[in-house]
Symmetry: C2
Subunit: 424 residues, 2 copies
Amino acid sequence: MSQSNESAQGPSRRRLLKAGLAGTLAGGLVTGRALAAGDPAITDIQDWNRYSGPGVDAQPYGTPSPYEKTVIRRNVPWLTADPVSSVNFTPLHALDGIITPNGLCFERHHAGVAEIDPAAHRLMINGLVETPLVFTMADLARFPRTNRIYFLECAANSGMEWRGAQLNGCQFTHGMVHCVMYTGVPLRAVLAEAGLKPGATWLLAEGADAAAMTRSIPLEKALDDCMIAFAMNGEALRPEQGYPIRLVVPGWEGNMWVKWLRRLELGDQPWQQREETSKYTDLLASGKARRFTWAMEVKSVITSPSPQAPVRHGRGRLVISGLAWTGNGRIAQVDVTIDGGRNWTAARIDGPSLPHALHRFYLEHDWDGSALFLQSRAIDEKGYVQPTKDALRAARGSNSIYHNNGIQTWYVGTDGVVENVEIS
Amino acid sequence: MSQSNESAQGPSRRRLLKAGLAGTLAGGLVTGRALAAGDPAITDIQDWNRYSGPGVDAQPYGTPSPYEKTVIRRNVPWLTADPVSSVNFTPLHALDGIITPNGLCFERHHAGVAEIDPAAHRLMINGLVETPLVFTMADLARFPRTNRIYFLECAANSGMEWRGAQLNGCQFTHGMVHCVMYTGVPLRAVLAEAGLKPGATWLLAEGADAAAMTRSIPLEKALDDCMIAFAMNGEALRPEQGYPIRLVVPGWEGNMWVKWLRRLELGDQPWQQREETSKYTDLLASGKARRFTWAMEVKSVITSPSPQAPVRHGRGRLVISGLAWTGNGRIAQVDVTIDGGRNWTAARIDGPSLPHALHRFYLEHDWDGSALFLQSRAIDEKGYVQPTKDALRAARGSNSIYHNNGIQTWYVGTDGVVENVEIS
């Protein structure tokens, strides 16, 4: 847990502060502008000091500032034939920390958003169980609850990049990921209520949407850390995230986190559903396909600067920031390069370091104004190192659109404009 | 860090599960209904399976389900003369986990919400500094950033309860608290840029709202863990929470977390502003007032069941859930009583346990259907124990409306209806 509070106090701290200051001034101010007497910044009273804005009844459920109206989920219209079966992307370039606000969590639907009345919704358990059961949402709330912060990444995140640099912005290249605190009940507790019959080794999870989204999950994972979640970031799940309940499958690809969950069937083999055969399998150069590639492997991306978040302040202190995550647990280290991989510097991971959650990293860099080839490379606690895209292609070809966890390169021009590029 | 994943696997886990099940069935199902062949729950296809709802372009910034429309911040109209200088309350009874969604964070304004264009906003540092400075918002983003999950509690939270049980719902008795992940820059780094003059021992923080909200903060706290925050739960601060920047003063009363922050002045004594003299001081029975009572002391409340979240399911498994927090760091323990304090049971704290953050607790109780006097009592890592309201009144009288961290009692009737009561 990296949430530490320094506690140096009093005179010794004061001396440290001044010593630090002397060093800073010797090299000039990092940021800010010195004021002189009579400076307008001192004497002006800004307009918003002259009046009061809206009061507490203005917005019973609050919304962002109008000045943030461009911070939204965005679709790529040409990517799919219809927005009902499509994807939009989390605006990673405009966010910080590790929590994604609920209104900005990317969406992927196979047949639109099911609009469900929770009072009418049921969860059924059938198949190889002692007692088939049906639960109301109120029933589920009576199991012991648990709270976990987890990332959810679509298997197709960065999928367009298999064939080279395509989309100009980390929202589009990496925005099929979000991270929230889930509240729910352990799947194993609910399954225990029905009782597993001998031979039960697989679980089918089925959604109540028009696609009846279905995936086979090995029972070992189901009994380990899966949850039936009913809340995200404290409040009820959003409709587009599976309201009133979704499956949570920590570290594994997003389509297995079945939304609008209505049925769990126990069986002795996988069901070979559409979304685990014709889709969500990885077609190799040989023509064979890898299937059941569940875990999302170690990955990172620099979110700022990035094509949608160019450098506007010229040379000097540049805060390089990004996200890293792994389906294998925690992130151990993130390295950043400014020269396309010749030299790497360890970045600072700041904030909670939790298993199967996003990690936020920063590198403060003194930019000399020359062009940069920015990359980040994550290493997880199991020792896996994020590969280059070329290494991935050498191993798997470029037929697939899934499981691209390759290193991303941003070219930062001398004017601060950023582009999605590939270097070899 | 309590985010642990159990990892027992395979046959031994399977046996455990069945053993657990036998125990469960012996006592009857905890929840759920057994299905028979031909049960409508098996054969019916629910309506939402027949059509697809909206697609990914429907809501670029998402909102909750229409079925959650009652989960909103609420005002108490008679509490203040005007909503522009008033408060609304977080709907704690409807939330779970420890994160408050941004749209539901309670508001307290002294002169409404300042509507600020971040491009025009400035932060000034003056007073006992080597170099008075002014910063743009882009300047501030160039300091090293940090991410922390903190609660913010208004000093007047539970203030009405000094004079006995008043408001029927934890939203109203305890809803002037929220907890989000803040991203910002350490205050000490920004102050170091200006350089502190000898003799600087106090900091004045001033907001750009029409109230020019101002508080004096001892420099030791300012240099310890205060932040200038620009993001909450990943996105820009909401306008009602100080957009574009607010001060974060971990563990201390909310009015010191100055919103719409525009000026920091260094001095050698407190400024004795209105909000630290005529307001936010604690009038004792003697007629003297305690002032500069900054830290929010150890506190907890049961959020469910509570007056707005009655027990609807009759006897049997009842999940008792609530929140605990302390300005002294972490919560060490929460005890729950169902008999008004004669017997206490340790509750289970679940989810991250972080300093100066909300902690979520649960107690699974087998309710026999008789009336309950429910209370929770938190103990923090410094050993402070949440007091009874009577003990608080004995020490401080009942003139104040601030710093009431007394134990809350909910009466649960045999019909499951819950009321705010006091017992002696």
